[in-house]
Symmetry: C2
Subunit: 249 residues, 2 copies
């Protein structure tokens, strides 16, 4: 885990260039500068936050992918949701929740580290930022809601189709050139299985079935949707609205 002291200025944050994120006022940026401590670089497959850890710092994922998870004592693991650049990490732990989750990177990642009481400072100094934090937290919850619907009520085929579509949408919103060569897909089949509550073997068979049917292709850690309509029909996803602009940090 490499730490950099020379800090990227928040105004020059690479994420800010993306149309996905909303603008901030000068005051807000100044406040961000004050609570930002440094950047951290971590390799892929690095356990950023351990399950049960209660003193984890607050991060923003600047580059790379990660996931939140919980496990049972015999090792069964459930991936709760996938984290992409722009996502917050550690809000729940900060809120002192007993049963916390772990966070592991899927790719090498760069993170922005905030000071201990950053959440409270944001709320106090810039209520608009506090509101953004609530927005982001509520939004993340709704991702978990959708995920729970999948795991609880969709068949294996439907779950896979849903996951592919949702990941594609989120990743495409961060990619300059969307439909060309697909989007990054750094998950192994074991990750997909753990996310969807399926066994590794069945995940593989279902994935292959959809691929042979020409619905998608995964190659070189990139995902290409070859028949979005068929996938959307399987996933029972109607409304296709693009993601709306969202707060950053």
């Amino acid at each position: 885990m490499t730490q950099t002291k020379s800090t990227i200025d928040c105004a020059a944050c690479p994420l800010r260039a993306l149309p996905l994120f909303i603008a901030h006022s000068a005051d807000e940026l100044e406040m961000l500068r004050q609570i930002k401590r440094r950047e951290v670089f971590v390799p892929a497959d690095h356990e950023l936050i351990h399950e049960g850890q209660s003193d984890a710092p607050l991060y923003t994922l600047l580059a790379g992918w990660a996931f939140r998870f919980k496990t049972l004592s015999d090792g069964r693991r459930q991936i709760l949701n996938i984290l992409l650049p722009g996502d917050f990490i550690g809000v729940q732990q900060k809120m002192g929740d007993s049963a916390a989750h772990g966070v592991i990177t899927l790719t090498p990642a760069m993170l922005c580290v905030f000071e201990r009481d950053a959440l409270w400072v944001m709320h106090r100094e810039q209520p608009s930022m506090g509101f953004n934090v609530t927005w982001l937290t509520a939004h993340e919850e709704s991702l978990v809601d959708e995920h729970l619907l999948s795991v609880g009520r969709r068949s294996a085929e439907e779950r896979i189709a849903t996951l592919l579509i949702l990941i594609y949408k989120r990743a495409a919103a961060l990619e300059p050139d969307a439909g060309k060569s697909g989007v990054p897909f750094p998950l192994t089949q074991q990750h997909v299985a753990d996310a969807l509550g399926l066994s590794l073997v069945h995940t593989n068979k279902t994935l292959r079935k959809l691929e042979r049917r020409g619905l998608h292709k995964i190659e070189n850690a990139r995902l290409i949707l070859k028949d979005v309509n068929a996938l959307a029909r399987l996933a029972d996803i109607y409304g296709d609205g693009l993601p709306m602009p969202r707060p950053l940090v």
Copy 2:
């Protein structure tokens, strides 16, 4: 749906008497009074918020139980989480999330209704309250996380045991006399099935199995845990910490 104009004063809010909730300053109470519009009384089984509804008001559940849910187009339903007195309703909708969830009451309920932009006012006027909202939202997400772990990775028996324990804990924290005659349990077996991603029939069989083994009893819409240790072992729940004091509104 009955609406009352004569408003209960926030300082006299029945919930506030419970040790579970944290105190508020005079300023905070005054702000609450300003954004509170009225109380609403609804019967059991009332669809308070429809799935997909985007203009739902913001509520606090003052008395009674409810649940959040999502459905697929063919009717399969997933209950996302159970709402007890003190819970917020409608934060996600307020945050303009496309794929919203519905809310239905399990019992007759009394709700506190806030004005349209209450969330923003709370953040702006009383950052401490804004912080509380973030806290509550993050906390609710962690409940969904735990639920997702159950549905994704626990067996039917384990899921039932987990649900019984978690509901018991939450309900007991609101009941003056805990262990006596159990806690309210207004869920039908269909609700339990929809919450756990199981079929009604299998839910019934599993529930009966645990009951015959003497682990619990459900009678007259009340739940009694007769062997918490056995249930906790099944659920794979170690830490048994009581719920910590939480913000109200």
